[in-house]
Amino acid sequence: MDPKPAVLAAVLLAPAFLLLALIVVYPVGRLIWTSLFELNLTSGLPAEFTGISNYVLVVQDPVFWQTLTNTAVITVVTVPGALVAGMVLALIANLPFRRPWPVRLALLVPWAMPLAFTGLISAWFFNSQYGVVNDLLRRIGLPQPIWFNSAVLSMAAICLTIIWKASSFVAMILFAGLQTIPRELYEAADVDGAGRLRQFWSVTVPLLRPAIVVAMIFRTITALQTFDIPFTMTRGGPGNTTRTLAMYIYQNTVSFLDLGYSSTLAVVMFLISMAVSVVYLRQIRATT
């Protein structure tokens, strides 16, 4: 007595569905539900259902817009930045070295560093008094700015750090992609008289496109969630000029204990991440 295919399918899918429900659907559902309440632990009052009023507050909140803009700037600068840097690293690693492993190991190092470490180390790098960056600038006779006194320079320091850190991850994905491109294609291009640059744009880039898209999806989503590096480098300063949306959510949750409002901010961030992912997934579907 065989079960009907539909029943069998349901039974076989049930564990996966339950697992997903437990780790994705429930927390997200709970988050959205909490965002509809006024719930601040320091008020000593019970949660009060207030509908969308938290969302209205978000729209009216200047700090929200500032942190959103900062997050957008970090994303727009560091995603292409890490892509270019990662591409250069991947191309270097792909050169025919006699001993490839030291190069590949070096590629892994920034990726293996914890984010908070990276932030703390760069905070010292860019410190105006003791930092190695200003020391180098002094040696080559350039002016030494006080990085964290300026909104633009603080942001630049953060973006440089993120690019350094993320380029290693991008490079690994691209390097894997590069290794799948057959050598014969380059030999054929050589025969046709194509130069190195022409080979890069006409052979490497088109064949690497799926790897590039995958790297960009991961990088964009992590860029939208940027927290550790600015948190440890500038704490969002000067003023709020380098505070990201994730830092603002953290602050409202952990420091202000305003669970209703921080849930609302988290829902907004979730929607933004979803929207970006959908755009990219369309892109992937178009390429394959």
Binding site: G44, I146, N149, G237, P238
Partner: protein, 413 residues
């Protein structure tokens, strides 16, 4: 039962105390040495047979410590019975109902709280209910280089203007490019809140009264302008927006600053074996704004009993015990922690261990508490980001004060 398991069971039974003893767990922050607390708690155990107290240490800074407690207590966890709280927390913890109210355990609350320095009574009483008891005091001091001031025949400055003039005199005479005038904190940390409040309070202003905002924008502009001018005149370092509490300590200890605005903990380090300024340091009340009076920023830690404790009566008893003159004296003599009882500042044993406490009382008595409100973290965030932005130069004092006022109005009405 296999013999191995039988042995384990036996060991467990033997390990259990003969009577059903009470075990209390207290949480202290990592920046204070625990041996002195152990000593104090041993005294409590001796006075209360059958009660044992364990210490849990965590959080090197006030913020890290608060984050841990926030997590434990918002989950309603009963694993902690009592904890040390930074001066700015009792109001917040009381509003969240995380601490056990203590009025019923101390008789007349007003009378009971009179024994402490008055500002602690204020910080630990919320709507007539005592919610925590003072453990030890702290305040911001003006540390100065006694040797340099003596060399130029100067007395510790009474106003910030006078401080600026003194710094210029000394810098002009010393020709030392690494020497700075005054180190204070403008990184966006808790210390930056005090940085703003010191000159603001000095002009007789307050930020809040009974939960209502009493922000004076003009005074706030003046306070911020005072600091910015110190930087512009070269009296304070240009990178002051990078400076956190311990950076001030390090700079002064290395002999790089003539003056430092810092908490009491600096003293022990300045007199330590690897200090460049050992024996060359004086401590004074903080300068005032011209025409104002000297004010300091009150720090210090409080004992609170957890509302989720399974041994509330014992926890309250412990808190009361830890907030007695005997324990305050022990903390002063053994760990140089400032007493919360005014009389102890004249105690011969205390003064023998910490001679500088004779000068400290005057500072502690001028100290005011930061706003007592459950929304303190929001207030703190607004002030520290503004101080940071203004001293980094991304905002003018006028813009900073206006923004601070507007944001504070959203939090305190």
């Amino acid at each position: 039962m296999p013999p191995g398991l039988r042995l384990i069971c036996l060991a467990l039974v033997l390990a259990l105390p003969a009577r059903a003893d009470t075990v209390l767990k207290v949480y202290v922050s990592g920046q204070i040495a625990t041996p002195v607390f152990r000593k104090a708690l041993d005294r409590f155990e001796a006075a209360n047979p059958g009660t044992h107290v364990q210490i849990e240490v965590g959080g090197a800074t006030s913020e890290e410590q608060a984050q841990y407690l926030n997590t434990v207590l918002s989950a309603g966890d009963s694993s902690l019975d009592a904890f040390l709280l930074d001066i700015v927390r009792p109001a917040q913890f009381a509003a969240a109902k995380w601490v056990t109210p203590m009025n019923s355990a101390i008789g007349d609350p007003k009378q009971f709280m009179k024994q402490y320095l008055p500002e602690y009574a204020k910080a630990d009483t919320v709507k007539g209910e005592v919610v925590a008891l003072p453990a030890f005091a702290d305040a911001m001091f003006l540390y100065y280089r006694k040797d340099l001031l003596d060399k130029y025949h100067l007395q510790p400055p009474k106003t910030w203007d006078e401080l600026a003039t003194q710094v210029k005199t000394i810098l002009a005479g010393e020709h030392d490019p690494t020497l700075e005038g005054v180190s204070f904190q403008a990184k966006a940390i808790e210390g930056a809140v005090c940085t703003f409040l010191l000159p603001y309070w000095s002009m007789g202003n307050s930020l809040e009264q009974d939960g209502h905002l009493t922000f004076d924008r003009e005074a706030a502009t003046k306070a911020l302008t005072m600091w910015v001018n110190l930087v512009k005149q070269g009296v304070a370092p240009k990178n002051v927006a990078e400076i956190a509490t311990d950076d001030t300590r390090k700079d002064f200890q290395a002999g790089k600053a003539i003056f430092a605005v810092l908490w009491a903990y600096g003293w022990a380090d300045f007199q330590g074996p690897d200090s460049a300024v050992r024996g060359k340091v004086g401590v004074a009340v903080l300068p005032a704004m011209t025409g104002g009076r000297s004010v300091s920023c009150l720090g210090g830690w409080q004992w609170g009993a957890s509302a989720y404790s399974k041994h509330k009566p014992e926890a309250v008893k412990l808190v009361k015990f830890m907030s007695t003159p005997d324990i305050s004296k022990l903390l002063a003599v053994d760990a140089s922690l400032l007493p919360v009882f005014p009389s102890l500042y004249h105690d011969p044993e205390v003064l023998k261990a910490d001679p500088w406490f004779a000068d400290a009382l005057a500072v502690v008595q001028t100290a005011r508490t930061r706003p007592v409100t459950p929304l303190y973290n929001q207030v703190s965030e607004i002030i520290r980001t503004t101080v940071n932005a203004v001293l980094a130069g991304t905002q003018t004092p006028e813009q900073g004060a206006a923004q601070m006022g507007a944001q504070l109005r959203r939090v305190l009405h």
